[in-house]
Symmetry: C2
């Protein structure tokens, strides 16, 4: 999540009316893109409902995701359950480790997420310091002007009081903020004590940090004995079905499975609107690959694409400067670990660009060693810049063989790929054979552990064991005891082995998309206001994802016009293009403006020339320029615009400008 | 759910190999349509994961649903949260009433759903009776032959022991089974006592039935004070957003909202595979309509469509005979309550027909008074016949104004439509005015209840009150006491009222689809086996929903063929048609058969004539007939077949039959 340090106003569109988050949020609820869930019941933090415009925009983003990834790459789509057996999440580590630290206001009982509270308080102190310094210099400070809209609502937000800090203290604070995600519970407790951090709402002391597991817990069936959690990611649903997926793919890797669905995270104190929520849509790909060969057959298709990279070593030096580099170079120089990872970074870039993300505000940030899961070999986040700073929207990690190995150990299932070898592999090795009939009765209750120890010995140990046995007896250490064994109990042979199959657990490369975060970032990038109408917003969404593609407006309520409107709507529907008729009594200008707010890229206006001459006009949202043509000509142009076969410049070559005089004679 | 009485073998396809459920189920897991969730962890009853073929089939069904309903009818799509605030479900009645009765084996602790256990035991006794009678008549009985596959698995299934029953007892049992869904907890307890019904697995006695709420419960946030449930239906998400939806539709009804998403039901003992599960996909429409005008503008489009109806009065007479009637007749005769309900029944029929449901095995059954929710004015279920009997797959209910009224009362929000009246409504009525300054101090703590009582009086009471006041004093009964009031406290005037707006709470017509049940019923209808290959199944799914539309098979691994296969795949993808290449080393016949199991309707075979002459063959799944043409001709035919613009008969007019000789010279 963003800290003050990551906010860079230079990245915000300069040529338009300055971005105001409150204005965008107002538009979102007014035109029902989304709203807090259970609003009429007072609402619940971190839960959001998507209305018609938002649901449609989201469905279009998902539909393009399905085409761009699943269809284009023949991925195996899954739909696995949200309710997840606790054992599965115990194996994956979520039951033990998927937690945040929380503290309690010792008097009011209010609960805070510990790192967020510290961040909040220290940022407020730094702000106060800044204000105090400005005041010294005679500048009006922001704490003297009206607070921004979001601060008014939040009771829990710490207030900036203009108090100057020592230079050394301010530096310490900044240092802590830069690594606020990485502290342990103990370290957080130390910070709270050292800097006397108190509950922002009351100024009371807070309790020691305690761990809070972020999974929603429930109970499956009536006995109360089968515990379940709502999944925190879709990934485990892929891993537990690995055997069937591999079989579906005729036993071969590489292949990828993909799933789009809801996941849950019981946040301690949700904030930042759609960016940190308790229920969210994810789209996840698990690409299973030979650990010894992470090349990708389509790598060359993206190799010359240049991406904005922020590698780990740059961040370690305290820098955030992005380097543009082709994916080919990034992989060949070893900066990106392998071709498959590089390929997906390129595909992610192309996807985000297609749906309308401003790629000037997109970067690929490599995880530093301390933030990467211990099993991951490399990880890059696609981060998108918003008014909240740089936001992780897509993670792309090499999860190695971790998950499949853990599930395999826990369930005793062989989650392996069997690769037939062209040339059988011939080699020699020491192979022990236990004589159970003798060993068992001789060692009684210790027999099992001795057998297990021998069977799992390294080649070196087996060689030593063989030597000992040849000499008469050898020792085996197990369970902290030492046992003497002879050839009666066990024999070790140096055998020639011929293998025609290679068994391996595949590695997994996982691109994981937070659809809600991408959705919100896209809306920020698409939003602006016209100089001449600053109160109303415009959403410049590409036709590919715009909730409705075409607005159909009869110029008046005259009954000759409405059959034409219905006919145009029907024709567009048959071409698969979503349109809306606005036959309300509002002025044409108002109806255009309302649809600019919905991001509708095109409008067809029906006037009396439509009746007399069969022409309609076509208006483009961003330029507001209008063209004219016969109904069929205009619909043909719209279809090509919506399918990306034509841009507006091209459309203007086909349809003449509408001058407003063509239909005068018909009125 | 089906009872033995509703199973009618005459409805099963007669011309094919007899349907065996075990064979279909084997195919489902083998080709990964779906499988029990967490299989490698031993599985959890009532939870299923969909694999690539199932997820794709499901996505295609949903995609057609979206086109057929949301796009075609300009519905407002929603995506509301699964995690639901408990207050909302308290208001809707689910917290108090969404429960089943369960009993416990007093010794083993096993839990049974009470009605299912009774059903199960009585059915077994009737089966035993039947066997005993057959034995008397000298016929071999099924309990002497191998039991069907599903019985082997289920430990809890009661065994049929060949014991003859009195005729009167057998009749009683059948009577109970016919109404097994309708008993109260007390009645279930009586049945258990009266018929000595014991736990099927052990023969032990069972406890008194207790209620078990079927919602999964969880806790939102870290305090444990905000209770939440996983939604049991998507409908409440529409109702709590009604104000915003109405506003989005410019304040006018009728309009419909629609939502596709997961819902949950914590079944006591799930059974019947996909038909009774704990997590399922629903697609729900809430059509908001003026209670005084339930006509539908597009009604005439379905009026002449004849549907198979099973109205309530026929069922009351103990009959299950279906009557074919046009929707126009059904509505005009009053059998179906209104045009909007009738319109949706027609649209539901057309949807199910389009995705491949055999409409000979579909009926619309009206709810009887005792099964309908008390607020509903009419309700019809689309039931589909399967090997489990007739299954409710779509409910279509008129929920009247119930939900909006309840939410409005609970939240004090005005969930009303304001309709401007063309002619203002002018009328006279009695209007009381309270003089609070006098009434308050005079009646002290009783003042509030007296005021409330007066303000909610009927016109008759107000007239009486006025008369009393005119005469000096009147009495008001409130809280079991009687109070004397005078003109000092309250006045009543007979006023002329002029209303220019009509306020009303809309009624809701709700078509609600269980996607998983439709999915399963469709698979049963599509499944058969060829006479010459009874071991392998064929899924005759229409191209509209088939997981993959085209199989591409190179006849050998010759390297000249694979670029052609990739090229065909790429072309089909650009036309939006999902295909799969099978370049495995299996024989052509085996590869065709594998794709018959996946329901792939068409196959393109690439042979050496493809290299020399540019021809490929086209195979159709159901007839196995093969045609030949140039690559472009064949792909053009496939595109038209997949988009429903051509049927196989038409395709045969365009492409000549493949005789197997055309490419001999090229080999």
């Amino acid at each position: 999540m963003a800290t003050a340090a990551t906010q860079d106003p230079s990245l915000v569109k300069k040529d338009a009316h300055p971005f105001e988050r409150a204005q965008l949020e107002g538009l979102m609820t007014k035109r029902f893109f989304y709203t807090q869930a259970f609003e009429i019941y007072g609402g619940v933090a971190g839960l959001y409902d998507y209305g018609p415009s938002g649901a449609s925009l989201q469905a279009n983003i998902i539909s393009h995701w399905r085409n761009h990834f699943i269809i284009e790459e023949d991925m195996l789509e899954l739909d696995t359950t949200i309710m997840t057996l606790s054992d599965v999440l115990k194996t994956s580590g979520h039951v033990d480790k998927f937690a945040d630290w929380m503290v309690k206001d010792v008097k009011s009982g209010d609960i805070y997420r510990a790192d967020h509270m510290i961040e909040n308080v220290l940022e407020a102190r730094l702000k106060g310091d800044e204000d105090a310094r400005k005041r010294e210099a005679g500048v009006q400070t922001s704490s003297e002007t009206a607070p921004p809209a979001e601060d008014k609502k939040s009771k829990k937000k710490a207030k900036a009081v203009a108090v100057k800090l020592d230079d050394a203290v301010a530096t310490e604070y900044r240092h802590i903020l830069a690594q606020i995600d990485d502290f342990s519970g103990e370290q957080l407790a130390d910070l709270i004590k050292k800097y006397d951090i108190r509950a922002p709402a009351t100024g009371n002391e807070v309790s020691e940090p305690t761990e809070f597991n972020l999974m929603f817990e429930s109970s499956i069936g009536p006995t109360g004995q089968t515990k379940g959690y709502l999944r925190p990611e879709t990934a485990q649903g892929h891993f537990v079905n690995f055997e069937r997926l591999l079989d579906f793919n005729n036993g071969r890797v590489p292949f990828a499975s993909a799933q789009i669905g809801k996941s849950f995270r019981n946040e301690i104190s949700p904030r930042a609107g759609l960016l940190r929520v308790r229920e969210f849509t994810m789209a996840e790909i698990e690409h299973f690959v030979d650990p010894d060969n992470k090349s990708h057959p389509r790598f060359k298709e993206v190799a010359s694409l240049a991406l904005p990279f922020l590698p780990a070593h740059v961040q370690k030096g305290g820098e955030t400067t992005v380097t543009k580099k082709t994916i080919g170079e990034a992989v060949s120089s070893g900066m990106v670990d392998n071709e498959t990872l590089g390929y997906f970074l390129g595909r992610i870039f192309l996807f985000l660009e297609a749906i309308g993300i401003n790629t000037e505000r997109l970067r690929f940030r490599q995880h530093m060693d301390n933030e990467m899961a211990h099993y991951a070999s490399d990880c890059w986040d696609a981060e998108i810049h918003t008014s909240y700073g740089w936001i992780e929207c897509v993670g792309c990690a090499d999860r190695s063989a971790f998950d499949l190995t853990m599930h395999s150990q826990r369930t005793k299932r062989d989650l392996m790929v069997q690769e037939p070898l062209k040339e059988p592999r011939v080699y020699q090795k020491y192979v022990p054979t236990i004589n159970k009939k003798v060993l068992g009765p001789f060692f009684k209750k210790n027999a099992k552990v001795i057998e297990d120890t021998i069977m799992s010995m390294s080649q070196d140990c087996l060689q030593k064991l063989q030597k000992g046995l040849e000499a008469g007896k050898a020792t085996v250490s197990a369970n902290g005891e030492t046992f003497e064994v002879t050839k009666e109990h066990v024999e070790v042979e140096y055998k020639t082995i011929k293998e025609s199959v290679r068994n391996f657990i595949p590695n997994v490369i996982e691109p994981s998309f937070g659809i809600g975060r991408i959705f919100y970032a896209l809306l920020e990038h698409a939003f602006w206001a016209r100089e001449e109408d600053k109160e109303r917003g415009v959403l410049s969404l590409p036709p590919l994802v715009a909730p409705f593609k075409v607005l159909i407006v009869p110029i008046s309520s005259n009954e000759q016009l409405s059959p034409i409107a219905r006919d145009i709507s029907k024709k567009l529907r048959s071409y698969g293009i979503a349109s809306r008729i606005d036959d309300s009594s509002a002025t044409i200008g108002r109806r255009y403006a309302r649809n600019d707010e919905l991001g509708t890229p095109f409008a067809c206006t029906i006037d009396f020339a439509s009746v007399s001459k069969g022409t309609i006009t076509l208006r483009e949202r961003d330029t507001t320029s209008q063209r004219i043509g016969s109904i069929d000509e205009v619909l043909d142009v719209i279809t090509n615009l919506c399918h990306g076969r034509l841009d507006w410049h091209g459309a203007c070559q086909i349809l003449p400008a509408y001058t407003g005089t063509q239909d005068v004679d018909a009125q």
